[in-house]
Amino acid sequence: MTGKRSTFLLSALVFGFAFLYVPILLVIIYSFNEGKLVTVWTGFSFKWYVSLFSNDGMIDAAWNSLRIGVMSATLALAVGTPAGLVMSRFGRFKGRTLFSGMVAAPLVMPEVITGLSLLLLFVTLEQLIGWPAGRGVTTIVIAHTTFCAAYVAVVVQSRLAGMDTSVEEAAMDLGAKPAKIFFVITLPMILPALLAGWLLSFTLSLDDLVIASFVAGPGSTTLPMKVFSSVRLGVSPEINALATLIILAVSVMIVISSLLILRSERARTRSMNQSTIDN
C-alpha cells in the first residue's frame, strides 16, 4: 500500500516540477537558437544577446526599472517597518481599525484598481497644486512604494509576532527609551525580516507591469512595459535572451542567499551545542 502511495506522490512531484521548469528551460534553450523561429533549431549562437545589448530602448528600460526598484524598496521599508511595528506592538489606538484595513487592503487589491486610482490621484493633485508635474519615475516610485509597503508591514509584523518580547521589556525596565530600544534591540532582531522585505519589494517593483503602465509618463518606460509591448505580437528571440539573463541572475542570488542562511544556521547550532556542553 505504501509503495503504491509513494509511486503516486513521486509521479505527482515529477509531473509538477516538469510543468514548472520545462517552459523556463525551453526559453533558455531557444535563446541560443540562431534562427528567428522558435520551432526550428538552426544552430547555436549568441546573436540575440548581442542584439539585446545593442537595443538602446531595452537598456534604458532596464536601467529605469532597476532605479525604480531600488528607490521603491527602500521607501517601502521606511513606510512599512513602522506600519508593522504599530500593528504588532502598539496595542489599541484611535483609528486602528482603519489603519489595519489600509495595511491589509493593498495585498488583495486588483492591480488595475490600484493603478487607476493612483493615476487619478496624480492627475487631480497636478490640477490642484501643480505637483507632480507630469508623470514619470517619481509617480511610479510612489505607486510601487505604496503596495510594497504593505508587504513589508506583513513580513515585519509576522517576525515581531514570533519574537520574544522579554528582552525589550527588560530594556524598558532598565530605563531605556523607546527609540533606543528600537534601534539597539528590535532593529537588529528584525534585520532578516527587513532584508526579506526589501528583496520582496524590489522583486515586486521590478516585475510590475499593470500599475506602472497606469502611472508612467513619456521617458519612464520600465522593462516589463517594454517586454509586454514586444511579446504582445508573439515570440521574440531577444526576449528569450533577456529572460535567460534574468533567470540566471535570480538563481545565483537564491543559491548565494540559501548558502548564507545554511551557514548561519550551522554556526548557530554549533554555538548552541557549545554552550550546552559548557554548562
Binding site: I24, T39, G80, L120, L121, V227, V231, S251
Partner: protein, 309 residues
C-alpha cells in the same frame, strides 16, 4: 525635595515619548491615507462624471457659480454597466475562470505539497527551494514562455505536426484553455507553500492510528489528512483566487479576444476607449462586489482561527 520641577532634559524626553509614538504611527498612516484611501474617493468622484474630450477627459462635478457650488452627478455610468451585458458577463467570467483555475491548482499542488512534506530532510529543502525559485523570476516572462509553447507556430504544434499526429495546427493560444494554463502555472507556488506548511506540521501518528483502527488508506486520507489540512487548502486557494480574478496580463497574452475578464475590461476602457469615468465605475463595482467580499471573508477567517486557538 527639590525635584518637583522637571529639568529641561526630562521635559524633552517626555515630549519625545509622547510624540514619538505619534510620529511612528503617523508616517505610515499619512502615506496610506494619501496614496491609498484618498485615491479611491477620487475614483468614486470621477465615476459620477461624464466623459469629455478634454484634458483630463472627464467633466467637472463641481462648478462654481454665483450662488455657490453646482453639483452635477451622473449615474449614467453605473446604469450603463447594468444595461450592457458585457460588464456583468466579464465579472461572472472572471469569477468562473479564477475558481476553475484554483481547483486545478489545488489538484496539482496538493499531491506535490504532500510529497515534499514526506520527503527526507535535505531533499525537502531542495524541493521547497525549487517551488519558490520560479516566484522570484519575472512573472511576465513565465507567462511569455507559454506563448512559444501554445502558439499556432509553437512547440506543441510543431512536435505534433512532425510526428504526423495532426495535420492542421491546433488552436491552443488565444483560448480559455491557455488562460487556465497561465494562471495555474503562475500561481502554483502560492498553493503549494501554505499546503506544505500545514501538511508538514501534521502528526503522522494520527494517520497510523486510523490505519490501525481499520481505515483503508483513502479513508484515512479523507477522514484525517484532508480535514486537518483544511486551513492550508483555504489559505492556498485564496492566494490563487484573489490575484487571478483581477488578472490582466494572462488573459491579454494567452487568452483570445473573447476571453473577457473584468481586469482586462477596465484596462481596455481606460487605455483603448480612453473613457475614464466608465473605467472608474468599473473599478468601484469591482471594489464593492469583489474586494469587499474577499476582505470580509478573510476577516471572518482570522477571527475564527483566533477563537479556535
Amino acid at each position: 525635595m527639590s525635584s518637583d520641577k522637571p529639568t529641561l532634559k526630562q521635559r524633552y524626553d517626555r515630549l519625545m515619548l509622547k510624540h514619538g509614538r505619534v510620529i511612528v504611527i503617523g508616517l505610515p498612516y499619512l502615506w496610506l491615507m494619501l496614496f491609498f484611501l484618498i485615491p479611491f474617493l477620487i475614483v468614486l468622484k470621477i465615476s459620477f462624471a461624464t466623459a469629455e474630450y478634454a484634458q483630463p477627459p472627464y467633466s467637472a462635478l463641481f462648478t462654481w457659480i454665483d450662488e455657490g457650488v453646482n453639483i452635477t452627478i451622473n449615474f449614467g455610468n453605473y446604469l450603463f454597466l447594468l444595461s450592457d451585458s458585457l460588464y456583468i458577463s466579464a465579472y461572472l467570467n472572471s469569477i468562473r475562470i479564477a475558481a476553475i483555475s484554483t481547483v486545478i491548482t489545488l489538484l496539482i499542488g496538493y499531491p506535490m505539497a504532500y510529497g515534499i512534506a514526506r520527503a527526507q530532510g535535505s531533499l525537502r529543502s531542495v524541493l521547497l527551494m525549487m517551488v519558490i525559485l520560479p516566484f522570484w523570476t519575472s512573472f511576465l516572462i513565465r507567462v511569455y514562455a507559454w506563448i512559444g509553447i501554445l502558439d499556432r507556430e509553437g512547440l506543441i504544434n510543431a512536435l505534433l505536426l512532425n510526428l504526423g499526429i495532426i495535420s492542421e495546427p491546433l488552436i491552443m493560444r488565444q483560448t480559455e484553455f491557455a488562460v487556465y494554463i497561465g494562471i495555474v502555472y503562475t500561481y502554483l507556488p502560492f498553493m503549494i507553500l501554505p499546503l506544505y506548511s500545514t501538511l508538514e506540521k501534521m502528526d503522522v501518528s494520527l494517520i497510523e492510528a486510523a490505519l490501525d483502527l481499520g481505515c483503508k488508506p483513502w479513508q484515512a486520507f479523507m477522514k484525517v489528512t484532508l480535514p486537518l489540512s483544511m486551513p492550508g487548502i483555504l489559505a492556498g486557494s485564496l492566494l490563487v483566487f484573489i490575484p487571478s480574478v483581477g488578472e490582466f496580463v494572462i488573459p491579454e497574452l494567452l487568452g483570445g479576444p473573447n476571453t473577457l475578464m473584468i481586469g482586462r475590461t477596465l484596462w481596455n476602457e481606460f487605455f483603448a476607449n480612453r473613457d475614464w469615468p466608465i473605467a472608474s465605475s468599473v473599478a468601484i463595482a469591482m471594489l464593492l462586489f469583489l474586494v469587499v467580499p474577499i476582505m470580509w471573508f478573510q476577516h471572518i477567517q482570522t477571527k475564527q482561527e483566533e477563537n479556535g486557538q
